[in-house]
């Protein structure tokens, strides 16, 4: 009887631990944009049956930008920044849910930021994207 109870206890602990770890969520907030003017709303991106998501955005000369990409449920993902002719401007990896890039451009430019998740089980990965800007002091 005691053996059965201990087994049941063990299964219950294991189930609870698995459930809680599966529910682990990162909280995305805009604290990283302190000191910047928020450029437009906070955007949300949910990958539907795809490992890749795209963010179409513009950067204007004379301003410094902070691009913040935060995931609630995906710890590791790749980020790349391209111009409209698909030239790679930046490529990197986020290791812990949230990544931000501080950027400025000599000339105004339209870009595409691409997010790629590695693990196919993360095909419903969710991201929030915020952009802030501030004037470049010459």
């Amino acid at each position: 009887m005691m053996k059965k109870i201990y087994s049941l206890f063990f299964i219950l602990v294991l189930t609870t631990a698995t459930y809680i770890s599966g529910q682990k969520r990162n909280v995305c907030n805009n604290k990283l944009l302190e000191g910047f003017v928020q450029d437009g709303p906070e955007y949300s991106l949910k990958l539907e049956d795809s490992k890749t998501g795209k963010i179409f955005l513009s950067f204007f000369e004379g301003f410094q930008y902070r691009l913040v990409i935060c995931s609630e449920n995906t710890k590791k993902y790749k980020i790349a920044l391209y111009d409209i002719e698909k030239k790679v401007l930046f490529s990197g990896t986020c290791e812990d849910y949230i990544k931000y890039l501080d950027l400025k451009f000599k000339s105004s430019i339209a870009c595409i930021a691409e997010i790629r998740v590695n693990d196919y089980s993360n095909s419903k990965a969710r991201f929030s994207i915020s952009i802030g800007f501030k004037e470049v002091v010459k």
Binding site: M2, I5, F9, L12, V13, T15, T16, Y19, I20, Q23, V27, C28, N29, N30, V37, Q38, D39, G40, P41, E42, S44, L45, K46, L47, E48, T52, G53, K54, I55, F56, L57, S58, F60, E61, G62, F63, Q64, D83, I84, K87, V88, L89, F90, L101, D102, L103, K104, F105, K106, S107, S108, I109, A110, R126, S128, I129, S130, I131, F133, E135
Partner: protein, 297 residues
């Protein structure tokens, strides 16, 4: 081990497990505005795994300020037009318009008309069921910041972001889309009008770069094309202007290393050139003039 103690432990674990499940369910209830902070963005706006960012109109206002260009009172949407906006679509479009005008008039100094424009924005907000965002406290705060244009820019950006999130969370995406469109049209109109008066190359380049912003405005509105005749009309008009931009050709070149770090900031030393501009500028300015006057009439 005492069986009673063991059962109590098992029961406690069950309680913990159940509370985790219930917390998940509670968090799916409709959010009230007091719940809406940037921590709680739960509506996912994705179109074919893509997001189309529309820059804040405040950026254009700040750009004009940097060039030392003072706002021209006579070109903004007159307050007397407010009484014409009787449909929710017109109200939404012109909420965006007046919001941009408010920022434009306060680029440098306090405008004697600030109170009027704040009142107009507040009235339209209430009529669009956004009274929970544009409360008396917000109204008073905007008026208190009118001597500090940088803080006002920050504050207005934050308020409009919260309004955007609130409306998306409360199924008012169509209204939100019209506000964004109205705001972009007004800021682009002010930019083109300024270029007509000053002919500064920086403004010209900023105008041409709006091609990509306009593409994003259209793509972010596109999912709502079938939802109302007003949105269809708006999108069709914006697509016409997008065609005017089609003649332009953009080319960017970079230094050998695409970017270098300047105090932890990636600085891209790109040179971007825009070609086939002469005829395009006249057509673009004429088109935005026509659309903007249609929106505010």
């Amino acid at each position: 081990m005492n069986l009673k103690i063991l059962f109590r432990i098992l029961f406690s674990f069950t309680l913990i497990l159940v509370s985790c499940i219930n917390r998940e369910k509670e968090s799916n209830k409709e959010l009230k505005v007091s719940d809406i902070t940037s921590d709680s963005a739960r509506l996912f706006v994705t179109y074919k795994n893509s997001v189309f960012c529309v820059p804040s109109p405040q950026l254009i206002n700040l750009y004009l300020k940097r060039l030392g260009i003072y706002p021209v009172r006579t070109i903004i949407n007159p307050i007397s037009n407010l009484e014409k906006y009787t449909t929710s679509a017109k109200k939404a479009e012109n909420f965006g318009v007046y919001g941009v005008d408010l920022g434009y008039m306060n680029i440098f100094t306090v405008s004697e008309n600030t109170n009027e424009y704040v009142a107009a924005v507040s009235q339209l907000a209430t009529e669009l069921n956004m009274g929970v965002i544009f409360t008396k406290e917000v109204y008073d705060r905007i008026l208190s910041l009118k001597n500090d244009e940088d803080s006002l820019a920050h504050y207005l950006s934050g308020i409009f972001s919260r309004a955007d999130l609130y409306m998306k969370t409360n199924s008012q995406e169509r209204t939100c889309a019209l506000i964004v469109a109205g705001g972009w049209i007004e800021s682009f109109y002010l930019l083109c009008n300024t270029y007509n008066n000053y002919k500064i190359n920086g403004i010209r380049d900023l105008i041409f770069q709006q091609k990509f912003v306009l593409d994003n405005v259209i793509k972010s509105l596109a999912p709502f094309y079938e939802s109302s005749s007003e949105l269809q009309d708006m999108i069709d008009n914006l697509v016409e202007i997008a065609y005017d931009f089609d003649m332009l050709d953009f080319k960017c070149s970079y230094q050998k290393s695409v970017y270098k770090f300047q105090k932890d900031v990636m600085f891209f030393e790109n040179e971007c050139e825009v070609m086939n501009t002469a005829e395009s500028m006249k057509t673009i300015i004429k088109s935005i003039d026509k659309l903007r006057n249609k929106i505010i009439s």
